[in-house]
Amino acid sequence: MTTAAEGHEKYGVLVVDDEPAVLLTMERLLSDDVVLTTCDTAERAIELLQTTAFHVVVSDFNLPGLNGNQLFERVREQPEYTSRLLITGSDDYEQPTGGERHYVLLKPFDPERLVTLVMQLGRVAEMKRAVKRLGSSLGEKTS
């Protein structure tokens, strides 16, 4: 990802929502702080995941075709840890049973909260990746 003025790497974030106004406004809110990619289907998101290691994937639940939970199953298969944030306006959204849970934000969310949460999730992904790299490097030294 590109380098910010402060010398920190900007987090790569993929936002998936089929509601154009929500997608546009989320893009405007986040684009100053992260390297942002957007798309409107889970299928397109899966294509993008093949070529880019995003730190965070933010997805709506109700999408045409695969839904947000099904997309996150694919995100979990990524070789690098990727944080997942689901946003939904549904009354009765339930986390899938089994497996690792993801973060959920209900629409209409506080925009400031969204920005803060995405940055925190970016840090979580960065730290988990660093710990994994450290573990691998220690494993190599002791073997």
């Binding site: 406004t25 306006g89 009354d91 009765d92 209409p108």
Partner: protein, 241 residues
């Protein structure tokens, strides 16, 4: 019609009305929350950008108007959330029941043409589930009526119900024109219909009922000769933890 049969039909009617109202309200809440999310995001962005300009400091009404947008958006969301209390108007009576009885009841009450035009073939086995029987009957009835509409009231609907591992599965298969691959993901969307004069809520109501009892409705594998099979799956109560 006997008094008992009339009571059953009346009870199903009230469950159906509650289910339709709940479905419509839920779809509206979802869609309006999307709109409100966009409004809140846009208002926040404009405020964040304008607050750094001279115009913002020079005219206090900008701050005031920005506040109005945010507060009214929040108040609208509160109003939407208040409609959630409507969900509790319908008192559910959940019990452990033999799901086969709901299948039979659904076939008896379904608003479909009867023989000789349309025939329902039933192969149902016993299986215990924890549900409100009126709701499960309604859900299965929706699947049967949907199948009858697909066949334009002529032909054979196959209904199979059985326990399979930890689930009880009701399969409703029809011999209608089938569902195009591109339509499969859409059939469970509210208000989606290819039939003129229909609201497109039947399968959605069935899916919501199934979801309420930790089950699901999906397009499933077709039995030989059938064009579409919809599966309603619920946890088998005898396998519950």
């Amino acid at each position: 019609m006997s008094d008992r049969a009339r009571t059953t039909v009346d009870s199903l009617r009230s469950v159906e009305l509650a289910a339709v109202a709940e479905e419509v309200a839920s779809v509206l809440r979802h869609d309006l929350r999307n709109k409100l999310a966009a409004i809140r995001n846009a208002a926040f962005y404009v405020r964040r950008r304008l607050a750094k300009t001279e115009a913002w400091t020079a005219d206090s009404r900008l701050d005031e108007m920005s506040d109005v947008i945010q507060k009214e958006a929040n108040a609208s969301n509160e109003l939407l959330n208040q409609t959630l209390t409507l969900k509790h108007l319908f008192a559910r009576a959940v019990a452990r029941i033999d799901a086969r009885e709901c299948v039979r009841q659904a076939i008896a009450c379904a608003r479909i043409p009867r023989e000789p035009a349309l025939r329902v073939e039933l192969d149902a086995h016993a299986g215990e589930v924890d549900v409100d029987p009126s709701e499960l009957t309604l859900a299965i009835r929706c699947l049967i009526e949907n199948a009858a509409e697909a066949m334009e009231g002529v032909g054979v609907i196959e209904v199979r119900a059985r326990s399979s591992e930890s689930h009880y599965i009701v399969e409703v298969a029809d011999h209608g024109p089938g569902i195009a691959a591109t339509e499969c993901a859409l059939v469970l969307k509210p208000f989606h219909t290819t039939k003129k004069g229909h609201a497109g809520l039947g399968l959605n109501i069935a899916a919501r009922v199934a979801q309420r009892y930790r089950g699901r409705v999906a397009v499933g594998d077709r039995p030989s000769g059938a064009s579409v099979a919809i599966h309603l799956q619920l946890p088998d109560a005898t396998h519950a933890l």
